[in-house]
């Protein structure tokens, strides 16, 4: 039997399709249920919400020590490295001045002393996050609790999210972070070079029924709760105090609120 090139290619093509089809069918049949009866669920202890939110009461964080304790609580459990240079810097929560935190809200004749006040900054876990919109791999996404998560396994390090975030909340691992972690927490992973990271509202603690580490360390200056639950502590404070968010004009709807004065 002799076949010409055209026929050979035809047969080869069809068989290739056949193989592909067969494996697709197999995958479909086996699907996600390849371990019979196994399932995944949420722990009954887990704290859940529709949209986690935070209120930072700036009046209650007065000394350098207050804010240092909060930052340290976060950075130590999350294995955040300390590079000691602004170029490689990685931070999840940090302090800055009013002028830098709310660059469009100030004026030259502000209340005395406000310039010295430390403002805590972290990811706003926006309800309408631009970083999630631009991510080409869904590595950054909104969890069903309203947390803006980063899946370090999937991030390709394109840094589009860093260009999109109007709050400078994201850091990139410009180099291997491990040598710069003072003391590693064996319960939490580190990151590797080439991925973006930021605050995760302590998703790993919420799963165990614990509040975020910063809230715990803040001595009541930071309050955490469900924005969509009218009875939550967060909503109670928002109802009874004048609060502001960073850059509200951008329509990102930040979930971190600040009580400034009064």
């Amino acid at each position: 039997m002799s076949i010409n090139r055209r026929e050979f290619l035809k047969i080869a093509g069809i068989s290739l399709l056949g193989f592909g089809g067969a494996s697709a069918v197999k995958k479909h049949l086996m699907g996600d249920n390849w371990v019979e009866a196994s399932e995944v669920l949420r722990s009954p202890d887990a704290l859940t919400a529709q949209q986690w939110a935070m209120v930072v009461d700036v009046r209650k964080i007065t000394t350098m020590n207050d804010y240092k304790k909060i930052v340290e609580a976060c950075h130590s459990i999350h294995n955040v490295p300390d590079f000691r240079n602004p170029k490689d810097e990685i931070k999840w929560i940090w302090k800055d001045t009013f002028e830098h935190t709310f660059p469009t809200s100030g004026h030259p004749y502000m209340e005395e002393g406000i310039e010295e006040k430390p403002f805590l900054l972290l990811c706003n876990h926006c309800e309408n996050p631009p970083c999630v919109r631009v991510c080409p791999t869904k590595a950054t996404f909104k969890s069903k609790d309203g947390i803006t998560m980063v899946d370090f396994h999937r991030c390709i390090g394109c840094r589009f999210c860093m260009a999109a975030c109007p709050y400078g909340a994201r850091s990139f691992n410009w180099r291997d972070p491990r040598p710069f972690i003072k003391k590693t927490n064996p319960e939490f992973p580190t990151r590797t070079k080439g991925v973006v990271e930021k605050c995760n509202f302590c998703a790993e603690r919420l799963a165990k029924g614990l509040e975020p580490a910063c809230v715990e360390a803040s001595n009541g200056a930071m309050v955490f709760g469900d924005l969509k639950d009218p009875d939550s502590e967060v909503r109670r404070i928002l109802r009874t105090h004048y609060t502001i968010v960073r850059k509200p004009e951008l329509g990102t709807r930040p979930s971190v609120y600040y009580v400034i004065g009064g």
Partner: protein
């Protein structure tokens, strides 16, 4: 046809060797970046994109501008471009390849780049950018190769290419529009958040690409027996003229909106780029070089005598190309990141490894361009 790239003069091989050497150096520098991480570049937490993405943006424009040769010939039957459309198509192939390489070297986790295809995300402009770029690359390779093959056999090109050619004409502006959307849809980056970003991109692309084509035509005429044609070059000159004027006009629109409105966020990036913010003025000399080159180019191009004189036209083309390379390959990207979201300034300047990698990618692109042009021109020399 590829075998035609395997025979050539000593000068041809010398040029190939230079390009290979430069790509090799770039590759070695890339290996260092691969092991150390992107911290080897001048980029930082505040300026997260630099030279790589700048080159990518500029080269998408160069790639799109191939249509400036294809469109007049196929839609308006402008015969003078008939024998050089291939130069536009092959330039596009080389430019898109460079774009892909620049994106690749900019990735923090290059081994995971297939995630873009494995987890397709239609709401991400970057996903669409990769789709349109790869599509445009395929279109130009197929069209260029088929039409050239037919020309070599002295038969008309097969009828199925025509629809592809029309598609590629519509496709060309799309690649640069989508690239502009990477920038123009980000809240909080005032410098980029402008509705005429895509229009500005296209104007600068259709000036810088044809300017490069004019220069390539001059080189081809000097080094080979193929003459792209005086009139074709003059028409390209007019195309560069109109689009360069449009580009300068669009830039003026941006400046007007920023400074007449007096909104600080809209003015800051311009102030940083052209005057410096406080002691931060690293980019000022570069941006003024770009501005002066643009003015010189426009004067040389508008004046019919200097546009028709091939020496001054050549100078004008160099000026256009350099001016827009600085403006788009550097200023546009860095300007968007300065000042940062806290209204403070972190400056950026590329490092040596970063520069070597950039040169390496350009060399690889010119290697592809040289080989493709060698094939195309050998075919044309045979027929002549």
């Amino acid at each position: 046809m590829l075998e035609k790239a395997l025979t050539g003069s000593r000068r041809y091989w010398l040029w190939i060797c230079v390009l290979l050497a430069l790509s090799g150096i770039g590759f070695i520098a890339y290996l260092r970046q691969f092991t150390y991480g992107l911290g080897i570049t001048g980029m930082s937490r505040d300026v997260t994109w630099g030279l790589y993405i700048g080159q990518f943006t500029f080269l998408v424009g160069v790639a799109a501008s191939g249509v400036m040769l294809v469109l007049p010939y196929y839609l308006h039957n402008y015969k003078k471009f008939g024998k050089i459309t291939i130069l536009g198509e092959f330039m596009a192939v080389a430019a898109v390849t460079m774009c892909v390489l620049f994106i690749f070297v900019d990735m923090g986790q290059p081994m995971r780049i297939m995630n873009v295809m494995l987890h397709p995300t239609p709401n991400s402009i970057m996903f669409w950018d990769s789709v349109v770029l790869l599509g445009y690359l395929m279109l130009n390779i197929i069209i260029g190769w088929t039409v050239l093959g037919a020309e070599r056999k002295e038969v008309p090109p097969p009828s199925w290419v025509k629809p592809l050619i029309y598609l590629s004409i519509a496709w060309a502006p799309s690649i640069h529009t989508v690239t502009a959307f990477l920038y123009a849809g980000l809240p909080g980056r005032h410098f980029w958040l402008t509705a005429i970003m895509a229009a500005r991109f296209l104007a600068s692309a259709f000036a810088s690409g044809p300017a490069l084509l004019i220069l390539l035509c001059f080189i081809i005429r000097r080094t080979t027996r193929f003459d792209p044609g005086k009139e074709a070059i003059q028409t390209l000159g007019k195309i560069v003229t109109y689009f360069m004027i449009t580009n300068v006009f669009f830039f003026g629109l941006e400046v007007f909106t920023a400074f007449y409105s007096q909104i600080p966020g809209h003015m800051h990036s311009f102030e940083y780029l052209y005057a410096g913010l406080e002691e931060h003025r690293v980019l000022v000399p570069l941006m003024w070089t770009s501005a002066v080159l643009a003015i010189v180019a426009v004067i040389l191009l508008i004046n019919p005598a200097t546009r028709k004189n091939e020496i001054t036209l050549g100078l004008a083309s160099v000026a256009v190309f350099l001016s827009l390379w600085i403006d788009k390959g550097f200023g546009l990207v860095i300007g968007g990141f300065v000042p940062n979201p806290f209204e403070t300034v972190t400056e950026y300047w590329p490092t040596l490894p970063e520069t070597l990698i950039t040169i390496g990618v350009w060399a690889a692109g010119f290697l592809i361009l040289t080989v493709l042009y060698k094939v195309a021109i050998s075919v044309k020399e045979e027929l002549a």
